[in-house]
Symmetry: C2
Subunit: 331 residues, 2 copies
């Protein structure tokens, strides 16, 4: 066992695009588990677009990470030492271990069933999948036959959302950046159609693909794409605001959706949510998602980077769209 721990601390609140210098790599002594604690060796870190929001001191759904604190993040690790009943050395666990090679944990850690692929535990079967599931079904009140549009459709959450909608009998159009992601959506993930926002006129394509309007929009992006969709919502549409990656690295909030007023004539709604509120019902989602994954009827991708020292650079990939599928870092 190494004698020291490496940790990425939040060094500065980012201004504009998140930079490597917003973090500081520190070497610190190995932590010692106290009573009721386990010592975990971090194996995989997971990255979410929302992490940019955790780095700044603005009103949000959780307090920001403090300057000088270990960067918050979901991870999968291996229990090395345990003073906690029910956890033994060798157990694989997932939880908010943070950006550090060694972490202390408690009963909030989730034990992974034997043989679980850690990449799946951090994506389809983790918070990502649960977000897609409840966002669509509960917030979006998805109904069979709905015309569903998903932005950030090749991303971890969007791709699961689209596949859930297909399984629920909907027509699904994904919006993603680049031909490769778009082909994957239609050829592998079973989307009915995909729009390449980097090379196509999103509005014109939406009009063509959704001539009777859009019933459910699952939005991970915001910005002009949100406006193009709002211009084409159907009567009674549900616009589920899951994220807005186009805004996260902007210092001043960009202009909002100028077409928001379409929700009046269309008796529609825009609704935001945070997955935390659905954790008590996570088992529901996990059961269905696990079944689909076991059947092989949900496809997924992970973008796996390597090396603890690359954590900040791995986070940046989310905001440039460099990743394809769930952004992970293997330690």
């Amino acid at each position: 066992m190494s004698e020291t721990n490496r940790q990425w601390l939040l060094h500065a609140r980012p201004v504009g695009m998140v930079k490597e210098s917003d973090f500081e790599l520190r070497t610190s002594p190995m932590p010692k588990p106290g009573d009721g604690q386990v010592l975990v060796r971090t194996r995989w870190l997971a990255f979410e677009p929302a992490m940019r929001g955790w780095m700044v001191d603005r009103p949000n759904y959780i307090p920001p990470v403090g300057i000088g604190e270990v960067m918050r993040g979901m991870a999968v690790g291996e229990v090395v030492e345990s003073n906690l009943d029910g956890y033994a050395p060798g157990d694989r666990v997932s939880g908010m271990l943070g950006w550090q090679e060694w972490a202390l944990g408690d009963g909030a850690l989730r034990k992974l069933p034997e043989g679980t692929d850690p990449r799946l535990a951090l994506s389809v079967l983790g918070l990502t999948g649960i977000t897609a599931y409840f966002g669509l079904l509960e917030v979006g009140q998805l109904k069979e036959g709905d015309v569903v549009v998903i932005s950030g459709a090749a991303g971890a959450t969007g791709s699961v959302a689209g596949q859930i909608a297909k399984r629920k009998g909907c027509r699904v159009v994904g919006i993603a950046g680049g031909a490769e992601k778009c082909s994957w959506l239609t050829d592998k993930a079973g989307f009915d159609a995909a729009i390449d926002y980097k090379n196509e006129d999103v509005g014109a394509r939406l009009s063509e693909l959704c001539p009777d309007g859009i019933d459910v929009f699952f939005d991970n992006v915001g910005g002009p794409i949100l406006d193009e969709v709002l211009a084409r919502i159907a009567r009674g549409a549900r616009v589920v605001i899951c994220g807005a990656i186009s805004r996260y690295n902007e210092e001043e909030a960009p202009p909002g959706p100028r077409n928001y007023y379409r929700i009046v004539a269309q008796r529609a709604r825009m609704e935001g949510f945070v997955v935390i509120d659905f954790l008590a019902r996570a088992a529901e989602a996990a059961a269905e998602l696990t079944k689909w994954v076991a059947e092989g009827s949900i496809v997924w991708e992970a973008d796996v980077q390597k090396g603890f020292e690359n954590a900040p650079r791995t986070l940046q990939r989310l905001y440039t769209g460099a990743n394809f599928g769930k952004q992970l870092l293997e330690l």
Copy 2:
């Protein structure tokens, strides 16, 4: 009985602020009621901000008024001749008679109970009151104890909405333009507080008056006021989009609410509605509103202009904020 009818036709689709020249005054022959029709002499015209939207050919909840057609509008009139069972000369009726001195009507006309004040029939006890009632209670899911903010609060719909919220046990803050309207809100209409957007810092005042956030926002205005409210919504807030008078005379849709993304962290929603969807339940609203009016516990104002030739100028008053209370024209 005069031999001719005067009608205001839509002459041109307005560009920017609605102008008198967008209408044309025409003298035409008196209409003759056919079988199942009544001839009605128009006595009062009612004006709604939404009428600007009926004049342009853009997607909306009803088709636009055609060029050369009589301008659409709610009115109260008196039956002069009847070929329709249940309607007799002398009956007072309300309905979409349009901007004309004489109109033909059918069973869609509502007979007013004996002694009904036509100003009330066209405001608190008409579509205006029904809009406020269902917008707040159904769309806004109003609960006792909610902190409610209303924009356009001294307007016909806003003032009724605020008074309904007070009767349902809420704390109510109104936003209106000018000291006179604000005093009326607090001194006469029973609002807990009023913000004069023309002379006060709306954001600062909202922070002061709603330190724990805003549970329900009933928005008639849009624009910067919507943003100031979104910045201060409480967890689970309902933002009811009833109107957006700040936008109606703009040729290009102005930027949308840059703070829309607050609905995510606050698990809130923005929802639009059209009163038409609630007409089947109008009696529910009317019963409660009639009771409150009879008790004298709902106060209301009407801005009464006179003379049929002034219809276009009367409509303009809504967009300059010249009116105080329901905008009416007495013929």
